[in-house]
Symmetry: none
Subunit: 406 residues, 2 copies
Amino acid sequence: MDLDFLASLAVANDKKVVLVVLDGVGGLAGPNGRTSLEAAHTPNLDDLAERGICGFHDPVAPGITPGSGPAHIGLFGYDPFRYTIGRGVLDTAGTPFVFKKGDLASRLNFATLGADGTISDRRAGRIPDDEGQRLTAKLAAKIAEIEGVQILLQHVKGYRAAVIFRGRQLDARLCDSDPQRVGQKPQDVVPIEDNPTPEAFLAAKLSNTFIRQAQKTLADEPKANFVMMRGFDNYEPLPSFGDLYKWRSCAVAAYPMYKGVAKLAGMRVIEAGQSSMEAELDLVERELPNTDFIFLHIKKTDSMGEDGNYDGKVKAIEHFDRLVPRLTGLNPDVLCITGDHSTPWSLKSHSWHPVPVCIVAASARVDACRSFSEIAFLQGGLGRIHSTEVMPLLLAHAERLKKFGA
Amino acid sequence: MDLDFLASLAVANDKKVVLVVLDGVGGLAGPNGRTSLEAAHTPNLDDLAERGICGFHDPVAPGITPGSGPAHIGLFGYDPFRYTIGRGVLDTAGTPFVFKKGDLASRLNFATLGADGTISDRRAGRIPDDEGQRLTAKLAAKIAEIEGVQILLQHVKGYRAAVIFRGRQLDARLCDSDPQRVGQKPQDVVPIEDNPTPEAFLAAKLSNTFIRQAQKTLADEPKANFVMMRGFDNYEPLPSFGDLYKWRSCAVAAYPMYKGVAKLAGMRVIEAGQSSMEAELDLVERELPNTDFIFLHIKKTDSMGEDGNYDGKVKAIEHFDRLVPRLTGLNPDVLCITGDHSTPWSLKSHSWHPVPVCIVAASARVDACRSFSEIAFLQGGLGRIHSTEVMPLLLAHAERLKKFGA
């Protein structure tokens, strides 16, 4: 749906909307023939399914497996094809770093370069946060500018940092320097287009210079003696969530990437000191009175799927289920429980499978679903929608969209 | 679907199609947990559901609540985003008024202006038809032309009239003068775009002059001493229903707006003397031999929903159900029963909820639905389609679309 059209219908009111994203919640059957959602004991989620309208959303398109960026972008109502966000921008946005329009951002991984010139550890031994911070500061102290371009460094998490080039027009259509495998030499950064722009050649040159200078600066480090760049992207602000939908919004998320995508959408991001579900629920309880919309991100369902841990995913779902009464106790006018994509334990990765979605609201047309699972939701009243249709539906159920046309 | 493409496949034959629009028929559960359709005793509609193929259509898009214009435009096969029709044109089209391309039309409401300069009654005490006709004629006699622009007046119904500006290029992107609430001053008509065209400024000036002249003309009226303008729109003819679909078509509807949208689509509009369902059925029986397609509009289901009258809506549905044998007795080759949008009693307004649709034809792939209701149709063979897909399906079931490609 055209965002300008949607925005033209949006009106403010006092209704409150809570969107819970159980990351990667959709799955595939385990050894017992049931998905984690089916196998999990979820009396509270089942109650929501019974009271609400259920179905599925396709995050991007049938058969397409989304990264976390496009998956959330779509759920927030933005066309994931139009609003593409590279990892450099996405990860940086989840930090306190403040972008300027046109900044060129790249994820920076601290790595170990062996004596033979190949990468011996792509994560520099998974260095902890404080070590990552020290190394980032060390680079920042030495490299402030290259060829008149300002070099800004930002630690992200563990071995992950970001580097931002500011002050000249630069083209982000560049390959990664990360060879993706140990035992390989790091790659030179080069433009990826057939007919690269001068701005792409310049950006590539700056990147390779930066990597050489960083290598010199880190030469005395035992583990993190090298950096790799990946996910180049130019920062462009998204249309603001508040301007579009006429509400105050905030995000409760523990991981930088999800905080990042929420911040890019203009949400107020609540800094969670801890990443436990309970701590996140505390924040939802604290913030709901001060906002109209809360995006709550729960990571554990995805992590278990990524690890191929079927039982772990069941337990993560059951863990969340026990917290559902805290959400319903807040009496939001609209409560939506869904995922950003599926992460089947048997694939150990994101997948293309449609994602269960349940909307509970006084204006929901209740269907016959009685339990919260993939197989049950096939009977749901929502049918199969696109992820970008979730947000219009949440606004509609909150009576925040006026009538279109006479 | 592209209309030119659809038209390229349409062929004439002798099959007859009846499309019944039960206005606002979709709903939400009542106090008993059932929607009006579920609660209503509808043996004849249930029989149609059993013999036909069932499902839902989205009038515009998930979450979007349509006005009657876009809702019908979509059902007739036109893209409701491309073919937008303002209230000025829609209401006028339902009268005998004959538009010329480029006419600027606005709804005109007779209202009461208090001594303090605020609107004390937005409907001038709901004056009857003959009074509205007299006042419209009084204005027409005094105001024939402003700045070389012809001023045409047309009574619509009760306190509702229309004013049409003809003879110069005018831009309809103007705000309403109606403040929408009593106790407020009427607004000046001004352009709504950020960078208005000269044609918008001219149209605004003409409108404000017209309002002042109308006020003078009506100064001696006890109730209807003022007029308000709303729903400015330039008349553009729609692609003709007959040219597109290669058939003779007619509309049986009692209310101006539905006659209007049918007329804009190029249907022959049958003037119903009475608005009872029985009188409308008489006309369907009379006209079907002389046409290929009949659009029958039933208003009562929507009116009851708008009034928040759950039982009334049940009764309106049961009332229509008793008349279904008169329709099936005519043996149309294709009989489609649907709505233009949902009007849940609990929302007392149009809504975004998908609309039940049932198609009965010899070529329908019959599904397992046994009753005519929202919950039953979730098992239907049509699934969830877009409103613009209803018309191609009716043509197809009437074997009026030839094969695409070799």
